[in-house]
């Protein structure tokens, strides 16, 4: 148990990897939902496809931004 406390660099790397994985899950769920509902809307109103496509990409970029916060923190834990 004590040796686990002393392995702090290894624990930091493990934490960073797990954090990055969780961020991937979060981004995947968020962008998946955006894409799915955009598909639904496009199927209902095919004439609005252009607008819906742009809005979908912009919303995906914003959600990815949040996932990137987590990646930056993971990188900081890994290298600092």
């Amino acid at each position: 148990m004590l040796s686990l406390l002393l392995a702090d660099i290894a624990i930091a790397k493990f934490g960073a990897a797990v954090g990055a994985g969780l961020a991937a899950i979060g981004a995947g769920i968020g962008i998946g939902r955006i894409g799915g509902q955009a598909m639904d809307a496009m199927a209902r109103q095919p004439e609005k496809m252009g607008d819906l496509r742009s809005s979908m990409i912009i919303a995906a970029a914003l959600v990815e931004g949040v996932a990137f916060f987590a990646v930056i923190i993971a990188l900081l834990a890994l290298f600092a």
Binding site: K13, A16, A17, A20, G21, A23, A24, I57, I58, A61, L62, E64, G65, F68, F69, V71, I72, A74, L75, L78
Partner: protein, 353 residues
Amino acid sequence: MLALVVAPSYASGSEPAKKGIDFQGTLWGHIKDSYEWHITNIGKTPVIISLPVIVKSTTGWHVFCSSAFSEEKDAKGNRPGPYGLYISGSKDHENKICETVNGAEVHPLDLSITKTVTVLFIDAILLLICVLVPARWCKKHKVDDSAPKGFTGFMSMFIMYIYNDVVKASLGKEADKYAPYLLTCFFFIFIANIMGVMPFPPGGGNLTGNIACTFFLAICTFVITNVTGTKAYWKDIFWPEVPMWLKVPVPLMPFIEFFSIFTKPLALMIRLFANMMAGHAIAISLTCILFIMFGVNAVAGSSMTVVSVAMSIFMMLLEILVCFIQALVFTMLSAVFISLAHVKGEAEAKTVK
């Protein structure tokens, strides 16, 4: 993508005496700033452009070429140079010019033209060319002339697309006042992103993946938003129209609103920085995978070639899309923040109607 970001840590855990490519060094060498521009390796000799160093140390101003610093590290891990300066190898000031003052390591005022600054100059010149050439066409032709062709036509279309769909859509009547800043923002970020993804000079320099650059862009948006904010905007922050108990004994909502003034540009900064840094890291990692596989085994290397090349092409195309989208999102959010700061109070809105 995230697996690739975590891969460098695994690579450093394995034995360091592996022949083949130095993955970590290549990756960080591209992303981080440095005093010389390492273009490529012809055989074993590196092709380096040494950039000027401008430093104000305790002995006054010094301007010299960075090739004056020795390539070899001395006993303490520093690279010595003239005037008592050296490029430090310590953890605090890694790869920065330092000097020893009274036994302590001090980083003097450093205005050197480093790699990032050079890339900034190149991108600025490219941006000026791309925008001033169509502007000259506009000066020479009248409004009713037929549409321009070629490069001018393309830039014209591009600029009007951003102006109509981003600037005018958010700002409405005040679009013309803020259009110069927002359009400059968009095209600067777009060109800097694209030049960072290009693998050969004059591209290949990481500008928007440097947090200082995105910090400055976010500060510009922050200053413009808050300096041009109307009285109603400031009133809504410090005395919002919420139930009294959220305001009076403990000013909960005012605190939250006040912090949101800072977190919105902060999010802009980190979004752009992280997207670009991760994008450059992926582009390099995918290329390096090929060389690492060749280092393992010639058979493994050859079989990975097709996969790696295919992945690289796909990721490069995705990178270009991401460059455009990130510039668009930054500009659109800046426009939205500026328009939100121009909220009109109820009395004003009634008189305008």
